[in-house]
Symmetry: C2
Subunit: 548 residues, 2 copies
């Protein structure tokens, strides 16, 4: 039997486009005598469809898509994901389903049992969980079909009371097929492989696993679809961050050999690729070609510039440096050198006149008041406006250059440096930004070494350094990681007794994170590369009192 | 038996503060010989606590709060809501529980069965549903205690397979007690009353129903706790938008008499009160006293100004009008007259110099390009920056003045008129804003009549009118309502054959709504008064292709 893994990049909501794409792959599969071609979870509508599922007319369009797909299944079986009406008197109106079509008929609909509802996942918002377990018979094989999360309730991490494969294994299936929509976050690749291998080992049968690929705004799908043999070895693995189509010869009487190789040695390389795909797909799917970046000569904008250049082509990334009287000459030179290294268009637009004009305009109103953060923010906001004006005039999307450390503690200006249509490194702590800069320079200088070695500064007042207001980044990032990813309260963080993590400092930082929820609420979408990014996956109250 | 309804305004996360407040009411209840005092859902931690529930240390603090409350229950019973560890091997780690404490002991923990996971609700994200049903015996009465949604799965709208009261009624309880966290949206008051009355009628026993009150950022809780007798009549009802404490004498052998009166004749009055509470509570809970508003002389900023003046005191609301060369003289006069009518401080800060300075600064970069939306946005953003500078300098929070119609179609400028810490009327369609203006003027002119009668204009280019770019608001609002609240696709809206709703227009408007998801993503929190507000309750993909 030949089974094909069809790992595609879908556009959310574009039911007609996704359907044509799926049908194209079915034709390809037929041409290579495939018996079963498998697509990923909710492929017909794109994943995650979010509240589009609330529109009955949208579900109807998915039904039309399924009918068109089904009509193409003469002489081949297709397993594809999509939403289905539950037709229940009680309960949610929809299922998250895998449709098993063959010979132009819908042979069986398999509904998802375990509905992830945590972090970025919201599936219980839309779907009713399945309660019926039955394998599908096809060409002499008994197949246990499941959808994504259904294979994750194993081992010590049981988030659900039911484990679908425990229900199905009694029917003696010869193989498992799983349709997934499993997003990337660093370390998640290994976690996913291990968990899927554990399934094959636990139930003693092989597993065909199909994931989607592509960036959907903030959520990045990395692909890595695979065939795992009954010993739990990864025998085949699809490409990462690219569409792929792999045909696997499989016979339930044989044990397939392992020819798997690891993808990357360095995790930072995976992060790099994820960000490049995220930028490329966001622009492609929104219909933009060009970006514009405020290039300060600092590390953050440099890394974003390099990533954007790789994703969009350096000539499509306009860099604008906007010095004020507090900018060092070095900063302007470094920004310029970076643009030259990459080959991007570059402009120098001084903000002095605009800034002075704001000061003049507000002089009467501000009479007798001393300069404070107001004047710093005016600089950041003048820059934001100039970038947005450039964007409006030339159609380049502004890329935001904030990192996770500053976003966490609110070391950023709303409507100023927080401007932008997409935040590229907003889920990377400052230390990770440096790692990424070194990775970008792995074959030689792309980002000028001066940018990597100089001390971080916002340059909004004379001789300002980040370290005036913040602890050194290695200390700051450690506290933030314990608090955000680690979900530890300040007392628990102090109790770790790690170097530099004094009670005063930890409490101060944790409070800064809480107090700046209101700023992050208005931040741009942020490419997600950790398992706890700011944005859709972390929902903290804005008005609240805690961590006292 | 005397039962007290304790309707309080909690601060999310402030476990210690909420606990003291609860204990204070327990003392009050003891003084009036109350047998059982009832608090609302998740009162100890404040509702909705969102991802604070992910922090084990936070749950521990709630446990301490419960212990302190329990210690105060000598001679009285207390029913109070809070999170509880599930201690399950499989499943979610927490329950959403009602704790029944008496004589310094926890007599029983009742866990919530039905976990709303739709619109703004996310409870399946955190909680495991209850599966055990048992009444509580206290002082000779058998009491069916449930939590909020548990009483909503009645009649034709069954979102769940289980209905907790169907499970409990066989034990022959003499009374129902429900702990709620039920937010306001227009018409929801009637819906809630009707649903609760239906419970009393269906099961033939009275119901004590306790809701919380207060604004928690965008979500507004209106209170309206009540006692419903066994005939389904509302016999007592607590105040709306205020804390309240009502003691009800009740005897299971008697039928209580109805002395209920309707609260408001006009729905717009309820909306008005909701917004005033929302502004007041947001400021109080964040710790701000003063607001600043960009006062254009148009209807939107006028209504926001009037609401803010009522919530914070007119003297605490600074109005700044920022004319450009396209502003009519009438606009400045109207804005000034409004400030005089209300008694608010007022400034006129022309943006000409700032605007010219941007144009000069960008002249070289923009050479050979014609004026377009860039220059319009530059005006809106110059105003935004001036408001933010005022906010930074004087500590007034900027109130956003966008309405739902313009936010829906993207008739607004990111980082310009979309600035602000809180959107006051962002969930009101333009027609509702006019209704609200007339309501504000119900006793005489507060908002100058000129503002209500003149044609809406953004005044960003010569003789601009909203109707140049948009259909008349009554038509626009109708389409938006069908699409957003009604969840109808464009074909279904056209099929309604309502006057003015041509296919071309409906498709155009619906596409505008979709295309501007990216703007709304960066909007400020918006006071929610409809059952489908933009923000947390409506989660649409940004990158998507639909409604083709």
């Amino acid at each position: 039997m030949q089974i094909a893994l069809a790992q595609l990049n879908y556009i959310i909501g574009d039911v007609e486009g996704n359907t044509s794409k799926i049908i194209g792959e079915i034709h390809k599969a037929k041409a290579t005598k495939v018996d079963i071609v498998v697509f990923s979870e909710l492929a017909i509508c794109g994943y995650p469809p979010k509240d589009l599922l609330d529109y009955p007319s949208f579900i109807e369009r998915c039904e039309v898509g399924l009918a068109l797909i089904c009509a193409e299944t003469d002489g081949i079986a297709v397993i594809v994901g999509g939403p289905a009406w539950s037709n229940l008197q009680k309960g949610k109106k929809l299922y998250n389903s895998a449709f098993f079509c063959a010979d132009k008929k819908l042979l069986r609909r398999i509904d998802k049992t375990l509905l992830p509802t945590y972090d970025i996942f919201d599936e219980y918002r839309y779907f009713q969980p399945n309660e019926v377990f039955e394998c599908v018979e096809y060409k002499g094989e008994r197949i246990a079909v499941t959808v994504c999360e259904d294979l994750w309730n194993l081992d010590d991490e049981k988030l659900y009371k039911v484990t679908p494969m425990d229900e199905l294994i009694g029917q003696k299936p010869s193989v498992m097929i799983n349709l997934s929509g499993s997003p990337y976050s660093y370390n998640h690749v290994e976690k996913r492989r291990t968990r899927m291998q554990l399934n094959a080992k636990t139930y003693g049968i092989p597993l065909f696993y199909v994931n989607q690929v592509g960036g959907n705004t903030d959520i990045l799908f990395d692909g890595g679809s695979m065939f795992i043999n009954r010993m739990g070895e990864i025998a085949e693995e699809c490409e990462f961050y690219k569409e792929d189509f792999k045909v696997i010869k499989w016979d339930s009487s044989n044990i397939y050999e392992d020819n798997h190789q690891d993808y990357y040695d360095y995790d930072i390389g995976l992060i790099h690729d994820a960000l490049v795909m995220g930028v490329r797909d966001y622009f492609a799917k929104v219909g933009f070609k060009k970006a514009v970046i405020g290039s300060s000569g600092g590390i953050d904008s440099a890394v974003v510039h390099a990533i954007a250049a790789e994703a969009l082509g350096a000539e499509n990334v306009k860099a604008i440096t906007m010095p004020s009287k507090y900018s060092s000459m070095g900063s302007v030179d470094d920004a310029k050198k970076l643009a030259e290294n990459l080959g991007s268009p570059f402009s120098n637009i001084a903000i002095k006149n605009v800034f002075d004009s704001f000061i003049d305009t507000l002089a009467e109103e501000f009479e007798g008041k001393n300069p404070n953060v107001t004047e710093e923010n005016l600089q950041a906001r003048s820059r934001g406006i100039i970038l947005m004006a450039y964007s409006n005039k030339f159609g380049n999307m502004v890329l935001n250059t904030s990192n996770k450390s500053e976003s966490a503690v609110g070391y950023s200006t709303l409507y100023g440096d927080m401007c932008g249509g997409l935040s590229v490194i907003g889920d990377l702590y400052k230390e990770q930004v440096y790692d990424l800069a070194r990775f970008i320079n792995r074959y030689g200088e792309v980002i000028p070494y001066e940018i990597i070695t100089k001390e971080p500064s916002a340059e909004l007042r004379p001789d300002q350094k980040d370290s005036d207001s913040l602890p050194p980044y290695p200390i700051l990032d450690k506290i933030l990681f314990h608090y955000i990813e680690g979900k530890k309260g300040w007392k628990e963080i102090v109790a770790l007794q790690e170097e530099g993590l004094t009670e005063d400092l930890v409490r101060k930082i944790v409070r800064m994170v809480d107090r700046n929820e209101y700023k992050r609420f208005q931040a741009s979408p942020t490419l997600r590369i950790s398992h706890k990014a700011f944005g859709f996956g972390r929902r903290m109250p804005i008005v609240a009192r805690y961590n006292n």
